[in-house]
Subunit: 144 residues, 2 copies
DNA sequence: TTCCTTGCAAACGATTTGCATTGGA
DNA sequence: TCCAATGCAAATCGTTTGCAAGGAA
């Protein structure tokens, strides 16, 4: 999706945030990944060319501007992925052994079921839903 | 549930783990809570009578024996709740602002839908599911 | 006596921040 | 020029661990 970067540049331009070379590399690494990535993982993905502190800062900024969304997984590490308005809605397979997260896309009719589940669960009026996440926890093929 | 403690004592007894006064207090605090609690929150709940290190150790042991199950939420903190074989299956409302987590129990027919979603998503054979978690993310009434 | 548990302090790992420097519009 | 971005090091925060003392079986 060459278009994804266009959308990101546009979003960032609106708020005076620069789409620097480092951030471009970060975004491309995330685009290639098949699931959310932590700062440490991105550090390796990028050949340790960008210091961790810069990665953390960029991740925080891109999170705040909703270009990325965080995923809080096993072992207290935060992983980030492109926000759903860029990638489309999806869910996660989470390995409870190594913490790896893979994306999965549910068939549309099943997703409709999920939506109705969410709606019926939040009809109390005491909670204002922004989204939902179906996390399927188990053991990945690497750890099995 | 006076019966819950019986079940826990029995489970611990099988593995030479003691149900000490501190752990009893911890379990009772979790029983009263309406959602998963972090070590720091339990520390406060218990009037700071049990040091954090003891709480962390007990939480780790009770996790390993599957009396508790962990929830990895906002801000990289781990919260624990009684395992589902003690409390029944349920899901979570997660406040993306303050990190608070509340339990919700889905109507049985909707839960059946969820089960079928999970089954259809994991039919690839490359992932071995242990459970699922539907996290509904949004803003709680406190933060709204 | 034999282990498990507890407390305190030190150690750790992930993440954040202060500060001086660099770089782009 | 002006402000955002970067790099390094130090600081924070949640969590873990070493070790010696306390307690239950």
């Amino acid at each position: 999706m060459a278009n994804t970067e266009q959308l990101i540049m546009q979003r960032l331009g609106e708020t005076g945030i620069r789409y620097s070379a480092g951030r471009k590399a970060l975004i491309r690494a995330l685009s290639k990944a098949d699931g959310p990535r932590s700062a440490a993982e991105l550090y390796e993905d990028l050949g340790r060319t960008i210091p961790l502190s810069s990665l953390y800062r960029s991740l925080a900024i891109l999170d705040k501007t909703e270009v990325l969304s965080p995923h809080h997984g096993v072992k207290g590490v935060t992983r980030y992925e492109l926000a759903e308005w860029l990638t489309g809605h999806h869910h996660h397979l989470v390995c409870i052994s190594c913490g790896t997260v893979d994306d999965i896309t549910p068939p549309p009719d099943l997703e409709a079921d999920l939506e109705s589940v969410v709606k019926s669960l939040t009809s109390s009026g005491r909670f204002f839903p922004r989204g939902h996440a179906l996390e399927i926890e188990g053991i990945c093929s690497e750890c099995a």
